[in-house]
Subunit: 186 residues, 2 copies
Amino acid sequence: MTQLRVDAQENRARIVDAARALFAEEGLAVGMREIARRADVGPATLYRRFPTKQDLIDVAFAEELQQCRRIVVEGCDDPDPWRGFSSVVHHLTVLNSQNRGFVAAFTAQDPDGEVRSTITRQRQELLPRLADLVRRAQKAGALRPDFTMDDLLLVLQAGRGLFSVRPTKAAARRFAEIVLDGLRAR
Amino acid sequence: MTQLRVDAQENRARIVDAARALFAEEGLAVGMREIARRADVGPATLYRRFPTKQDLIDVAFAEELQQCRRIVVEGCDDPDPWRGFSSVVHHLTVLNSQNRGFVAAFTAQDPDGEVRSTITRQRQELLPRLADLVRRAQKAGALRPDFTMDDLLLVLQAGRGLFSVRPTKAAARRFAEIVLDGLRAR
DNA sequence: GAATATCCGGACGCCCCCGTCCGTTACGGT
DNA sequence: ACCGTAACGGACGGGGGCGTCCGGATATTC
């Protein structure tokens, strides 16, 4: 791929924008057609740039992925492990609540092959870091000792349920607050 | 409607069973066709008995609705309001986790008319009771004073997110435990 | 064992999505 | 200004769900 023609670049950009918006609002289940319509582009153009929905997902969530990465890295670098941990939970919960598709994309296993989408790779890098953060927070006596990584995924997954009502940031923050109070060591 | 012919009764029963199973496993979005196939019945037969999906939902969730009602009533009758409250949260969370469709059906507003499905009526009866339980638990100093009914719905909605992973009872129980620890007054 | 009302399900027309093909448009280098 | 080619999108065949209709099958009644 040398260089796209400028009109093609514009179309590609509009497609990515549309996909971002629709994935965030409606989730990953939106049809390719709907994305194309929103981008004001024919179906063929969409498929030409992104033969697979996964290709589109990878590009559309690149920004969120960076954001996610920043949240985790910053949390892990915090000298106070509990503050780092609660910051991660808080921010990831809010991020989820603002983007219906992202957690789905982040959590989804890619079908049994070696496909290894960008997102999968990121996940594999971030999870061990989080596990370490959890360990440190527990050692510091701040995080309940029976906490496991499964619990973390549990909480993040639960955040997805918030979408059934209204994806208010306030609601997400409140939820994170309650959960974090439940996770603190007594 | 006088009395169904016995073969028709059998078919109706199989339809309800199929709907119950599919709603629980897949959610309310399952197609009428799929329900009919699972019940080993033609589409027309399904539509003859249940012209609307809501009709089918009402009948299919009758049992869960009773169960839900029992959970709430028993919780409200508990002389220890915190024990009652936590029992409600715990059991409703587990109930949710076992049934993808139920919370959706219970939460859904019926479209702006006076339709008033059975489920809607139940909800309108149970919510005030819960509000009272919340008030008593707070007065007893067991439930965090800033708790609101919105928080309760928030938590129950969040429970729906658990379905994205695996609807284990254990996971649901664990989630309820964490949340309840977060809701307890300090 | 017929007569009859009840009930069944295959089939229909409609709509929408899927991924692809190909005739047309318009960009960009000369 | 011209031309080669990248890029476009309407249209296609296939598949599936929707709610309904109607000719045939079956339970019930006498």
